[in-house]
């Protein structure tokens, strides 16, 4: 499909997501609790976009491969090894900012 306004519904119904390394795609998928395989194309992407995907892989939240190894990854994957992604904590930011500004 071309460009939908939101993939949220498709995401909720999915059992497995295969995505590029864009931060929005990765985080939305992980927050929805879906298993994720990130496919990177090192030639096309600039380095900074890979940083998050690599870190998520290091932390055990996503599987990681490139176009040529995708089939192999799908055949040998064990999704039970993926760890759940704990949500970020904006409350900590609020506490910090209150102190900075002087609201206590």
């Amino acid at each position: 499909f071309r460009f939908k306004d939101s993939l949220a519904e498709d995401l909720r119904r999915a059992d497995l997501v295969i995505s590029h390394a864009g931060a929005g795609s990765c985080l939305e998928t992980l927050e929805e609790g879906k298993p994720l395989i990130v496919v990177t194309n090192e030639k096309l992407m600039n380095n900074h976009q890979l940083e998050l995907a690599k870190q998520l892989h290091r932390d055990g939240h996503v599987l990681y491969c490139n176009c040529s190894t995708l089939v192999e990854t799908l055949q040998s994957m064990d999704l039970s090894t993926l760890k759940p992604y704990p949500p970020g904590q904006p409350e900590k930011f609020a506490v910090f900012l209150d102190k900075v500004v002087g609201f206590q």
């Binding site: 380095n47 900074h48 970020g88 904590q89 904006p90 930011f93 609020a94 910090f96 209150d98």
Partner: protein, 169 residues
Amino acid sequence: TGGHTTEILRLLSCLSESYSPRHYIFADSDKMSEAKIRSFEQKRAETFSNSQFTLDRIPRSREVRQSWTSSVVTTLYSLLYSLPLTYRLKPDLILCNGPGTCVPVCISALLLRLLGIKRAIIVYVESICRVETLSLSGKILYYFSDYFIVQWPDLKEKYPKSVYLGRIV
């Protein structure tokens, strides 16, 4: 722009109503942020009765991977808009998270500070996408912000003056 707006709205999600009125500044080329912001503020107004916010656009400071020299020119052009805007708003606190748009706004705030007109606290939160390296805005504002927040421990090590609170978006 997209990801930045989503992140900043998450940062705002736990702030008390003392942080009011909220003035959102974004790039004129940004088509999607306005809708996201309005939706966020609408939900907020359901909980807090006196919720106030404004929206302002300034010319986009820099396109992705734009050359250094032309970026200086386009940023100066954005500054022509951000300076009168910042002067009019006279914010107590500036919260920004990395799009090029934040650079002219922060420069404006620093100028107002130097001229003794208004002293704003500048808080910069680097995007969650930045694990090992800082964005260009981050590299600049690391030196000019009052508080510089990173979301991954690697960056805290590389930039010791930064604040690390873990993942906050």
